[in-house]
C-alpha cells in the first residue's frame, strides 16, 4: 500500500501497453479470484448499498497498480514491496552488508504492510489470497459503508474505501471499477488463469529446529518462483543500490513461519551465498520499521530438502 516504486513500474508498463481502454480485459489467478469472490461474499453485508459484485471489483482494482501487473498478467500473490526502502528494513539496520537479506514490509497482491493492514499477519498470511482478500474486504467494506451511511455517493465512498492503497490514487481504481461493471451490476472482462495459485509460488516445507525432533510447516519464499507478474522480482538494481535511495533490494529466498506471536524470516547461506547465517524476527502487530531483531545465526532445518542448519549448532 505504501509502495511508491511499484506504482511507478505500473505506470511504465501501462505506457508500454498503450491504448488500454477502460474496459480492457484483466487477468487474475483462478484460485485467487475464487478467494476474492468468497471474501466479497463474506463482507458484502456491511451495508445494504454494497453488493458482492461491487465489492469484488473494489477488491480487484488495487491489485494491478499495487503489484505493477499489466492487464494481461495476473498480479502475483507473492509480490514483495520494492518502494519501501527505509534503512531499518535492511539486515542489521545497516544497509551496507548482506543487502539482499532484506525485510520487505509490504507483501501480497494487496501489499499489506506491517505498518497497517498487514501488521497482525505474517508473510504467509499476507501472500495467501484467501486470507489477504478477506483482510482487504473487511477494510474496504467497513470504510465504504461508514462513508456511505453518511450520505456520500457510491463513488465517493469507494474513493474513501481505497484510501489506504496508493495504487488507487488519481481515480485509477474507479476507472477499473467502472470498466468492469456492467450496467446491471455484473462483472465483465475478468479472465482467470490457473497458472497463478493462492500462494503465488510460495512453497510449503517441513521444518524443524536443530536439536528438536518436532516438525512443523514453514514457508519458502523465492522471488524467482513468483507466479503471475514478477516485475517486483526482476526490477533492477536487484540490490537496491544505495540504501535509502528509494528502491529497495529484492530479497534472496527466505523461509518464514510464526511462533509465539513473532514472525520469523531466515536467509540460508545456500540461498544468499553470504558467509553469514541470518535470521530476523518481528513481533506481530508491530511495524517492521524499527521493530526487527536480527541474529547472525540460525537453527532452522528444511527437512523437505535437508537444507539449512540440519546438523550443526550455532556458528
Amino acid at each position: 500500500m505504501r509502495n511508491r516504486l511499484t506504482v511507478t513500474i505500473a505506470a511504465a508498463v501501462a505506457t508500454m501497453v498503450l491504448g488500454i481502454p477502460a474496459a480492457s480485459a484483466h487477468t487474475f489467478g483462478s484460485v485467487p479470484y475464487s478467494d476474492t469472490l468468497g471474501a466479497a461474499d463474506a463482507y458484502d453485508n456491511e451495508c445494504t448499498q454494497l453488493t458482492k459484485n461491487d465489492l469484488t471489483l473494489m477488491l480487484l482494482a488495487p491489485t494491478y497498480p499495487e503489484t505493477g501487473a499489466p492487464s494481461s498478467q495476473a498480479p502475483s500473490p507473492m509480490t514483495l514491496s520494492r518502494g519501501d526502502d527505509q534503512v531499518s528494513l535492511h539486515s542489521f539496520g545497516s544497509g551496507s552488508s548482506y543487502k539482499r537479506a532484506f525485510w520487505h514490509p509490504g507483501v501480497g497482491a494487496w501489499q499489506m504492510d506491517s505498518a497497517g493492514l498487514g501488521a497482525p499477519n505474517d508473510a504467509r498470511k499476507r501472500v495467501s489470497t484467501w486470507y489477504s482478500s478477506r483482510d482487504a474486504a473487511d477494510e474496504m467494506a467497513t470504510r465504504y459503508c461508514l462513508r456511505r451511511n453518511q450520505g456520500y455517493s457510491a463513488a465517493s465512498a469507494r474513493d474513501y474505501a481505497w484510501g489506504p492503497w496508493y495504487g488507487c490514487d488519481a481515480g485509477s481504481c474507479e476507472t477499473f471499477f467502472n470498466g468492469h461493471r456492467t450496467s446491471g451490476g455484473g462483472i465483465t472482462g475478468i479472465y482467470t488463469t490457473s497458472s497463478v495459485e493462492r500462494y503465488g509460488g510460495v512453497q510449503w516445507r517441513t521444518c524443524s529446529i536443530f536439536g528438536n525432533g518436532s516438525t512443523f510447516t514453514c514457508w519458502y519464499v523465492k522471488p524467482a518462483n513468483a507466479q503471475g507478474y514478477n516485475g517486483f522480482a526482476v526490477w533492477t538494481p536487484l540490490d537496491g543500490g544505495t540504501a535509502g535511495s528509494g528502491t529497495s533490494p529484492i530479497t534472496h529466498p527466505f523461509y518464514t513461519y510464526t511462533s509465539s506471536n513473532k514472525e520469523y524470516r531466515y536467509w540460508f547461506t545456500e540461498d544468499t551465498g553470504y558467509g553469514q547465517r541470518i535470521f530476523a524476527t518481528r513481533t506481530l502487530g508491530t511495524n517492521a520499521r524499527g521493530g526487527l531483531t536480527w541474529y547472525t545465526w540460525y537453527n532452522l532445518c528444511d527437512r523437505s530438502y535437508w537444507r539449512g542448519n540440519c546438523s550443526n549448532g550455532p556458528v
Binding site: 511508491r4 505506470a11 463474506a42 463482507y43 527505509q86 534503512v87 531499518s88 542489521f92 539496520g93 544497509g95 551496507s96 504492510d113 505498518a115 497497517g116 493492514l117 501488521a119 498470511k125 495467501s128 484467501w130 478477506r134 473487511d138 461508514l146 462513508r147 453518511q150 465517493s156 474513493d159 484510501g163 489506504p164 492503497w165 496508493y166 488507487c168 490514487d169 488519481a170 481515480g171 524443524s208 529446529i209 536439536g211 528438536n212 518436532s214 512443523f216 535509502g244 528509494g246 510464526t258 511462533s259 509465539s260 520469523y264 524476527t281 502487530g285 508491530t286 511495524n287 520499521r289 524499527g290 521493530g291 526487527l292 531483531t293 536480527w294 541474529y295 547472525t296 545465526w297 550455532p314
Partner: protein, 380 residues
C-alpha cells in the same frame, strides 16, 4: 524505526531501559501522592504534585511546594517509594484477534484454515518448539559468537499507543523525563524534544515539562516550559514534548529538567492505530487521494496517512500525536493532528474509525520518511 545503522544497538544480555532523571529531592514532592494508601493513590493528583527533575535546583524549581517539612519526610517516604518500586501496570492491550476479526480467528485466537486446505485451525507451532526458540534466542543474547541487532527499546502496539518506551512497571516516582530520548538544537535558540513517562500508578492529566538552562559557570540562563502533546497519560506510558527558550543554544552548558502533572482523568483510549501510507518529502510521484492532493510540479511535502479504529467508547476531539525518533531513539520531530471521521468530524464513534493525515513541508524537518515514528491516539 529506528533506523539507520546507528538506530540500532548491539545486544548482549540486557535491554536498554531509558535514562532516569529522577532526583532524590524531587521525589519528595511525589511521596504524598504516590506513596499514600491505595485509596489515596487512586485519587486524582493535586496540582503540581507529580514532579521529577534532573538536579536539585531543577527539582526545587519544579516542585515549589517542597519545603523543609517535605524534606523532613524524605526518609519515611523513600522507604515507601522503594516498596512501591517496580509496580506492575496493566498494559492497555488491544482486543484479541478473535474480537477484531471473528471471521478469521477462533475464540483462542487460532487462525482458521481454508476449507480446501483441510479446514480446522492453526494455533501455532508445537509448544516444545516455541519454548526452544525462546530459549535459544535468549541464549544467543549472551553468546559472544552471535551478533544481535535489536531496537533501542521494545516496540508495542497498544490501545492508543504505538512505539517504544511504554513500561510494564512504574517506580512510583512521578513524571520522569527520559533523558535518553531528548534531542536539543545545536544552533540558534535552544529547543528540545523528547519524552516523559508517567511513573505513577494512576493516569495523570496535562504534563508540563520544564527545563532550566545553565551556562558553563552554573548561572541560570532562563527556563523553557511546555506541555506534552498527550493528556491523560496512563501509568507507564511515555508522552512527547517540545519546548524552546530565547536562549542561544551555544550558551547552554547544562539543563535541569522537571515535570509537573495536573490531575488525570481515565479516558478509554482503546484505539488501534494503523499507518497506511508514507510519502517522503521531495521529488516523487504526486499524491492524489481523498485525504490529500499534492499540487504543482513538486517537490512535495512529507505525507503520512493512517487510521484509528475505536474499540472503546466514543471519543470527542480525537487526535493523533506523532513523534519521530532518530537512530539513537531520540525524538527529533513531533506533530499532532486532528482525526477525521467518515462524517468529517473529530468524534470517533464507538466501533468506528477515523483517518488522520500528517503533512510536513517545513524545510527544517529531518527526513521523516527514514525515521521511525511513535503514535498516540487521544480524545476525551
Amino acid at each position: 524505526m529506528p533506523f539507520g545503522s546507528g538506530s540500532r544497538r548491539r545486544v548482549r544480555a540486557r535491554r536498554w531501559s531509558g535514562s532516569r532523571l529522577v532526583a532524590s529531592v524531587a521525589l519528595v514532592a511525589l511521596l504524598a501522592v504516590a506513596c499514600g494508601t491505595p485509596s489515596e493513590v487512586a485519587t486524582p493528583l493535586g496540582e503540581g504534585l507529580a514532579v521529577a527533575a534532573g538536579g536539585e535546583d531543577a527539582a526545587a524549581a519544579a516542585a515549589p511546594d517542597t519545603g523543609p517539612e517535605a524534606v523532613a519526610e524524605t526518609q519515611d517516604a523513600e522507604t515507601i517509594v522503594e516498596e512501591a518500586a517496580a509496580q506492575a501496570v496493566s498494559l492497555p492491550e488491544l482486543p484479541s484477534r478473535h474480537e477484531r476479526q471473528p471471521e478469521l480467528y477462533d475464540e483462542n485466537d487460532c487462525l482458521y484454515i481454508p476449507p480446501d486446505e483441510g479446514g480446522g485451525v492453526d494455533c501455532g507451532l508445537p509448544a516444545d518448539v516455541e519454548a526452544l526458540l525462546e530459549e535459544m534466542e535468549a541464549a544467543s543474547l549472551a553468546d559472544p559468537d552471535v551478533e544481535v541487532t535489536a531496537p533501542v527499546a521494545e516496540w508495542r502496539s497498544l490501545g492508543g499507543f504505538v512505539g517504544p518506551y511504554y513500561a510494564e512497571t512504574v517506580s512510583g516516582s512521578g513524571i520522569e523525563v527520559l533523558e535518553g530520548t531528548v534531542s536539543t538544537a545545536a544552533a540558534g535558540n535552544w529547543s528540545a524534544q523528547g519524552l516523559v513517562r508517567n511513573e505513577l500508578p494512576d493516569v495523570v492529566g496535562s504534563v508540563s515539562v520544564t527545563a532550566e538552562l545553565f551556562d558553563a559557570d552554573g548561572n541560570s540562563l532562563g527556563t523553557a516550559t511546555g506541555a506534552t502533546a498527550v493528556a491523560n497519560t496512563r501509568p507507564g506510558e511515555p508522552a512527547p514534548f517540545a519546548i524552546a527558550a530565547d536562549v542561544p543554544a551555544v550558551d547552554v552548558a547544562s539543563v535541569a529538567w522537571g515535570a509537573v502533572a495536573a490531575p488525570g482523568q481515565t479516558v478509554d483510549r482503546n484505539l488501534e492505530i494503523r499507518v497506511f501510507r508514507v510519502h517522503p518529502a521531495g521529488d516523487r510521484p504526486a499524491v492524489d487521494a481523498y485525504f490529500h492532493t499534492d499540487t504543482g510540479e513538486g517537490p512535495y511535502p512529507f505525507v503520512l496517512f493512517g487510521s484509528v479504529t475505536n474499540y472503546g467508547a466514543a471519543l470527542a476531539d480525537g487526535a493523533v500525536a506523532v513523534a519521530w525518533l532518530d537512530p539513537d531513539g531520540r525524538v527529533v520531530w513531533t506533530e499532532r493532528v486532528d482525526v477525521k471521521s467518515p462524517a468529517d468530524t473529530t468524534t470517533i464513534a464507538a466501533g468506528g474509525i477515523a483517518d488522520f493525515v500528517v503533512v510536513v513541508d517545513d524545510p527544517a524537518a529531518p527526513d521523516l520518511y527514514q525515521l521511525d515514528a511513535m503514535f498516540w491516539g487521544v480524545g476525551r
